[in-house]
Point group: C2
Chain length 357, copies 2
Amino acid sequence: HRYRIAVVPGDGIGREVVPEGLRCLRAAARGHGFELDVTEFDFGSADYWVRHGEMLPPDWREVLGGFDAIFFGAVGRPDVVPDHVSLWGSLLQFRRGFDQYVNLRPVRLLRGVRSPLRDHGPGDIDFVVVRENTEGEYSSIGGRIFEGTDRETVVQETVMTRTGVDRVLRYAFELAAARPRKHLTWATKSNGISITMPYWDERAAAMAGRYPDVAADSDHIDILTAKFVLRPQDYDVVVASNLFGDILSDLGPACAGTIGIAPSANINPDRTWPSLFEPVHGSAPDIAGRGIANPVGQIWSGAMMLDHLGEPDAAAQVVAAIETVLDEQPEVHTPDLGGSATTEKLGAAIADEIARA
Amino acid sequence: HRYRIAVVPGDGIGREVVPEGLRCLRAAARGHGFELDVTEFDFGSADYWVRHGEMLPPDWREVLGGFDAIFFGAVGRPDVVPDHVSLWGSLLQFRRGFDQYVNLRPVRLLRGVRSPLRDHGPGDIDFVVVRENTEGEYSSIGGRIFEGTDRETVVQETVMTRTGVDRVLRYAFELAAARPRKHLTWATKSNGISITMPYWDERAAAMAGRYPDVAADSDHIDILTAKFVLRPQDYDVVVASNLFGDILSDLGPACAGTIGIAPSANINPDRTWPSLFEPVHGSAPDIAGRGIANPVGQIWSGAMMLDHLGEPDAAAQVVAAIETVLDEQPEVHTPDLGGSATTEKLGAAIADEIARA
Ligand SMILES: CC(C)[C@H](C(=O)O)[C@@H](O)C(=O)O
Ligand SMILES: CC(C)[C@H](C(=O)O)[C@@H](O)C(=O)O
């Protein structure tokens, strides 16, 4: 089999971790007898913006639409272009334009990684955040009035649709039904955000009725963040709106040691358009250019891509290699893991482990 | 001096912790030579709602407006009245109606309390969340269209005003300027929430220019929650919008051991109307009626009230008594602290300590 992969490294550490991701994907391809046909693009970056005054070419949907998947690094160089411009001009375009309505973000405490939480060891934290990825709080409706005066007022609308809410809930319930613990928690804030969040609750409760085998409950986002720290072992599938999912999928990985290892899959489950795979971390301008970024988030995202492409064995092997290397080779840990190795060193060690297995 | 205090116990554990709060306040009053003139109200509770079909009497502003402060427990009994109805009908009315535009929520790891985070001991975590408390994401503008159909769409508007944003930022910068570390972090999410949050950034940057002695920086809310877990010692004053402040002020206390001890002050800095003091935790229907709730959040909120009333010595003494008892008397720890004592036992021990000192 041959898969056509579009690669968009983006900015900052995105450019440093993507090559390690590709190195590991190629090792997996060799071992499992499939081919990767990789095309790299320079758009979706601050450099491109400087040259073209926009983040993407006008025909980006045609250019990328025919690929089997998109392997994405990270976007953001706020010294050159404001983050809301660069992100709305690239990543958020992809998520919407390719209707990648599920953002799947597994959180696992791996062997070899130290959780900042006491009393928690490998295996103890193992849940998935299912984030709504196209609507909700990330809306482009709103504006400013009475600019520059004391009456200045800014408004932004959160928009939820039945279609948008139900499809991500359904995905999350299906996922929970297929997992051993069959437990789903939906994040809400219906006591304070009194219009959209009660709607979210209503749809979640209706969906729960259709999945009697899934134990479903909800937590308000404030207490849910507290519980991630106090009782992360209680969670299995956590489904959340765009903003709440964004928050939970950074907090969860922090509880499991570092956001440097956290992967994500922006999925179009209908497979009408390509899905996009990227680490949870961003372009990290503070450490960019030093070669010390953790490549595991990118590599693990590659594993999720393989799974999506129909190569579950290769995917599982990549994840296993990550865990083996983190566990057995502390000398290749990057600084965020308490080590002093480079991005390349950790990437190469994982690729070797994949080749070896 | 004589202070007129309105007491609104509310629902659930609110009714169990308020008496302990009052017990400690009375002990402090005796020791410091001032008087508390306490009037208790039954509104702002599910019982009241059942009897009257509303959460508050129509003249609540006149009834409460003349008091020096409001000592509030917690509202919420979702089995009787939906949370958004009970909260918007009571607590959120007070915050807005009395223009309590600052919600001050200190987070401290006290002696005698175990943090769920490794490597952190007493003194290590010591910051204040300053939450905007009247506007932002907690808005009542919005609605539903195409109800009951596949096109169903729900909209809710976030509203920020220059007045609302600037006054809470100014309060936070003043607070930071008066603290030894003089460090302020503002929470944002301007890369995703692309209209209101860039505005928040803009006003915060402008305000930072007026406080050259304050070291000001910002974090996106997602990574900020991660950093609370990974590096809580880095924070001093954290200023945030209504929703982000809500989240951070539950997460912070969880990192410092338990949200059962976290206090809050809903302040009208102009003193046109009474300020309101309440624990961060809610009515906790799951443990209500069992007499095991931690009263420290309520007692500490009482200390913040004393400070606001102009009794800083008494306030400091209450906080010191809390810490001494938690440190020296593990036998009076409630279950959330790992003990098995009752609400009353812990409350009485703190009141005794106040009386003793
Ligand atoms: C009960 C709820 C409406 C309230 C809020 O969100 O403000 C609470 O969580 C708080 O933090 O005081
Ligand atoms: C960069 C930013 C717009 C993005 C988001 O908020 O979705 C990121 O935080 C993420 O989680 O993928």
